[in-house]
């Protein structure tokens, strides 16, 4: 059976969308109110999906305790209650759009040792979300 196990996590963080390669006017045009110099915050919802064979002894693709602790250490601890632009080194040079945050999270989770990472989906608000399945060129899933 081809199965994906998905789990949702939450973290709250602030960010500011501002590119050092754009002028002040261009930044405002590109990012609008997200360019506000003091930043703003979101309650992010992270959905992580992994795949693999179901272990007959446990009935599981991966033990949720293992997935939870891996995600907690790799993403929730460094991303929760922080200012992404300053507190996460990757975003000192890269604009923390949700696209880029999604890719960064994928890269941090790709080495999960107990199952294959299939996709990372990140909801910035309940109205917009981004999904990344790695650079394999395949469709989501």
């Amino acid at each position: 059976m081809n199965l994906h196990l998905a789990r949702r996590y939450k973290f709250a963080a602030s960010h500011r969308l501002h590119s050092s390669t754009l002028s002040e006017d261009e930044n405002w045009r590109a990012y609008g109110k997200c360019n506000n110099p003091y930043g703003h915050g979101h309650n992010y919802v992270l959905e992580v999906a992994v795949s693999g064979a179901v272990d007959p002894a446990t009935g599981m693709i991966a033990n949720l305790a293992d997935l939870d602790s891996f995600v907690e250490r790799a993403v929730i601890e460094p991303f929760d209650r922080v200012y992404l632009n300053e507190d996460v080194p990757a975003f000192r040079e890269r604009v923390p759009t949700t696209e880029n945050v999604c890719i960064e999270i994928y890269d941090r989770l790709r080495d999960f040792p107990h199952a294959k990472l299939e996709r990372v989906r990140l909801e910035e608000t309940s109205l917009n979300s981004f999904e990344y399945t790695g650079d394999s060129g395949k469709d989501p899933r």
């Binding site: 059976m1 081809n2 179901v54 446990t58």
Partner: protein, 148 residues
């Protein structure tokens, strides 16, 4: 004609526990945690079944949703709703009733019953924050072809 996916959602409530008789009590506790509680516990499961196909030009439907609703009622709801999955669902006998295994059983029950269109995905939510997607035995993505 375009290929379209239609999804029907149903809910059922059931109890289960995780216990492997081949494990020692300590091992069961370590692997399954509180899900190993001997008296079990319950969930409100949410099941989303997606069927993919080309709408019939005569009816405009991939398959009749009423028919899909009846199939889900007969195959899944009547079998699993308000049941203790470990003891009352024969298809799960000898398996740990994890979300993974329940979704696989649901796929096997539904696939032969979908005669118009093709079963594309079974998504089973155990809680709003935990779900499994089953695509059957096919290659990744389970669409039986194409670059995915």
């Amino acid at each position: 004609m375009a290929t379209v996916s239609i999804t029907r959602k149903v809910e059922f409530s059931a109890s289960h526990l995780y216990h492997n008789p081949a494990f020692s009590p300590e091992e069961n506790r370590r692997v399954f945690g509180k899900c190993n509680n001997p008296h079990g516990h319950g969930h409100n499961y949410v099941l989303e079944v997606t069927v993919k196909g080309e709408p019939d030009p005569a009816t405009g439907m991939v398959l009749d949703l009423k028919e899909l609703k009846q199939i889900l009622q007969k195959e899944i709801i009547e079998r699993m709703d308000h049941r203790f999955l470990n003891y009352e669902v024969a298809e799960l006998a000898g398996q740990i009733p994890t979300c993974e295994n329940i979704a696989s059983v649901i796929w096997r029950l539904l696939e032969p019953r979908i005669t118009r269109g093709r079963l594309d995905r079974v998504r089973l939510y155990e809680t709003p924050d935990l779900f499994v997607d089953c695509y059957g035995e096919g290659a990744a993505g389970g669409n039986g072809g194409g670059a995915r």
